[in-house]
């Protein structure tokens, strides 16, 4: 077990190393000159040259990379060109907003998907099953940004119940915060709910045909007791790991959702930094996204192998 953990962690470190190189070279391939952006529009050649000197942009690329990694390891990702704020501080103010959004959408997704998935599995091949499967298919197919626009059209423009955009911090007014977050969270949760529902149904069907469920029935337990006390708990194990794997989709979804509902979170920060050619910010934000994704995957792999000792390094627990 210990060997497995060490090996798996080493692979993640290697992956992170490759990622940092990809991000660094990728950002340098974006057309445009960072020194010119830094210097502003009215700078002359000498001014731009001075900036190149100051930020070490004249050094060889490998040296620049090593310096950047060295600072990044100490938690310094540089400063935004546009706002002059440190990248870490910028991320620290934006990330909680996206985490709240992700948390709410997760609540919505789990709240819809698990009861629906269990119902579909227990009442397999009935109208309930067909309804749930149909809804799941619709949830996977609907483009989330269009769903967002349609919700705004209905609830904000037609009915005037909810504000179409904007953000209020939760500590200022929890109610206003929720009124603005409920539509984006629903949009973000739909696709996740669809995937989770399908997974819950499949895993529940598998568990319901297991021997110990038959034993539970033959002890004379009611269906309710069998489902709630024996089946659900065991069928949720694969569902939990699927949740971890959906984090990438959640980040991608947040980019689009925050754009539509004008939520000033991490997803919108990614798009803004790309559009304004804010190189240090792009570099930092993408590195943080990719690293957290690797970390989550590591945790998923480890939890998977803890839950199921048959899976070891030779297996492919991340099959997608």
């Amino acid at each position: 077990m210990f060997d497995f953990l060490v090996q798996r962690a080493a692979i993640s470190v290697g992956t992170l190393f490759v990622i940092s190189m990809v991000v660094f070279t990728g950002v340098r391939m974006i057309p445009g000159d960072p020194a010119r952006v830094l210097a502003g529009t009215d700078a002359d050649a000498a001014g731009i040259d001075a900036i190149r000197e100051k930020y070490g942009l004249k050094d060889p690329i490998p040296l620049q990379y090593l310096r950047w990694v060295g600072l990044a390891l100490r938690g310094d990702l540089g400063h935004s060109i546009r706002t002059r704020e440190s990248v870490i501080d910028t991320v620290a103010t934006k990330l909680p907003i996206t985490i709240e959004l992700a948390f709410l959408s997760l609540l919505i997704a789990v709240g819809i998907a698990i009861p629906a998935g269990v119902l579909a599995a227990v009442r397999r091949n009935t109208v309930w099953d067909m309804l749930a499967s149909g809804a799941s298919l619709g949830g996977v197919s609907i483009p989330n940004f269009w769903l967002g626009i349609m919700l705004i059209l209905f609830f904000s423009v037609q009915l005037g119940w909810l504000p179409a955009s904007g953000f209020v911090p939760i500590w200022e007014s929890p109610l206003d915060n929720l009124r603005r977050m409920v539509m984006p969270a629903f949009v973000l949760g739909t696709a996740l709910a669809a995937v989770l529902m399908r997974q819950t149904r499949n895993s529940m069907i598998e568990v319901m045909s297991a021997d110990y469920i038959r034993t539970a029935y033959s002890k004379g337990l009611t269906t309710r007791a069998v489902v709630f006390r024996h089946a659900i708990r065991n069928s949720l194990i694969p569902v939990v790991t699927i949740l971890g794997l959906q984090m990438g989709a959640l980040i991608s979804g947040a980019v689009v959702t925050e754009q539509i509902f004008v939520v000033p979170g991490f997803g919108r920060l990614i798009v803004e930094s790309v559009f304004t050619r804010d190189y240090p910010l792009v570099q930092g934000v993408v590195l943080i996204t990719a690293s957290s994704y690797v970390l989550i995957n590591l945790l998923v792999d480890v939890s998977y192998s803890l839950l199921n000792p048959r899976i070891r390094i030779g297996g492919t627990p991340r099959e997608s």
């Binding site: 974006i30 609907i142 483009p143 269009w146 990438g248 980040i251 798009v271 790309v274 994704y293 997608s320």
Partner: protein, 297 residues
């Protein structure tokens, strides 16, 4: 033991008799899964629309008309007109071509890059496999859309670049899928048999391994294409894909968002088009999956 591990002669003898039963099974499936058939028919209709756009649209999708700005649907303009007086129906029809192009070509690119890499990794194992898989891990660490946004930023916004970016974003999935399948198939007796008969690596890979993974790749493609279509729409919606005035469903929705109060129809049709196309693809894909891969899902 699975049937595929029987001796090669037995396979040969059985080959002709499987053909009619496969057709029969397809027919049976089709009758049992009317939704998949409807999905497949709608996908084909979209393909026909993409090919026949100039004849179906009737009017020029880029023809502006200042007298017809944001007019609600009428008989002459069944989907209404947009902020520049252009016919929304014509733009949705032409947009089909762009979406189909982006969806199909990006996945073809992902297959063209991913399958050979996965094939080589799974077939040779060892150091090469390790190198390819670490690269894939790093590749997969970037969420699909973030990677596509990054690549388009480097290459510049256009339909071709968006297609390439989406294709490269989808590639690691194909590397992983192919490698996993190859690992399983390369261990089969008939591959060992062919090797013993003197078949070289290239022949083994192209004649014995590849044909056995085609159906799984096809199933994966029906899952990936709708995702790629939505991705193109998102990139265009963000202003990173097809550039105006070209009629892309994503750019149309971007414009429509500014006129939700005065011209809601501008937002209905492009979104409905994406939704029905991706839904049909998924329905058809479900049927295809049952047909090609008879495990119970």
């Amino acid at each position: 033991m699975s049937p595929s591990t029987t001796a090669p002669t037995a396979l040969l003898a059985r080959a002709p008799s499987t053909e009619p039963s496969r057709v029969a099974r397809a027919w049976r499936q089709a009758r049992h899964r009317p939704a998949s058939v409807v999905g497949a028919v709608i996908v084909l209709l979209f393909v026909a629309t993409a090919i026949g756009a100039p004849w179906i649209a009737g009017v020029d999708p880029m023809q502006t008309d200042w007298k017809l700005i944001r007019k609600a649907p009428t008989f002459a303009h069944p989907f209404g007109t947009d902020d520049l007086g252009r016919d929304t129906f014509a733009r949705v029809v032409w947009g089909t071509r762009i979406s189909m192009q982006a969806g199909v070509f990006s996945i073809l690119l992902a297959i063209a890059v991913g399958v050979p890499l996965g094939l080589v990794a799974g077939f040779y194992r060892g150091t090469l496999d390790q190198a390819i898989m670490r690269l894939t891990d790093a590749w997969l660490a970037f969420p699909f859309l973030i990677l596509a946004i990054g690549l388009v930023t480097i290459m510049g916004p256009s339909l071709t670049n968006a297609t390439v970016a989406i294709g490269l974003g989808a590639t690691p999935t194909y590397i992983r899928l192919t490698r996993g399948l190859v690992l399983a198939i390369a261990a089969e007796d008939y591959v060992h048999g062919a090797r013993a008969l003197g078949a070289g690596d290239v022949r083994l890979m192209t004649r014995h391994v590849l044909p056995n993974i085609v159906s799984s790749l096809l199933v994966q493609a029906t899952i990936s294409i709708p995702i790629a279509i939505i991705a193109e729409a998102i990139l265009s919606f963000l202003g990173l894909g097809v550039q105006p005035p070209a009629p892309s469903w994503g750019t149309m929705l971007n414009t429509a968002q500014q006129f939700l109060e005065t011209a809601p129809w501008m937002a209905w049709w492009p979104g409905l088009a994406i939704f029905s196309l991706t839904l049909s693809f998924n329905l058809a894909g479900d049927g295809l999956r049952d047909l090609l891969d008879p495990r119970d899902y």
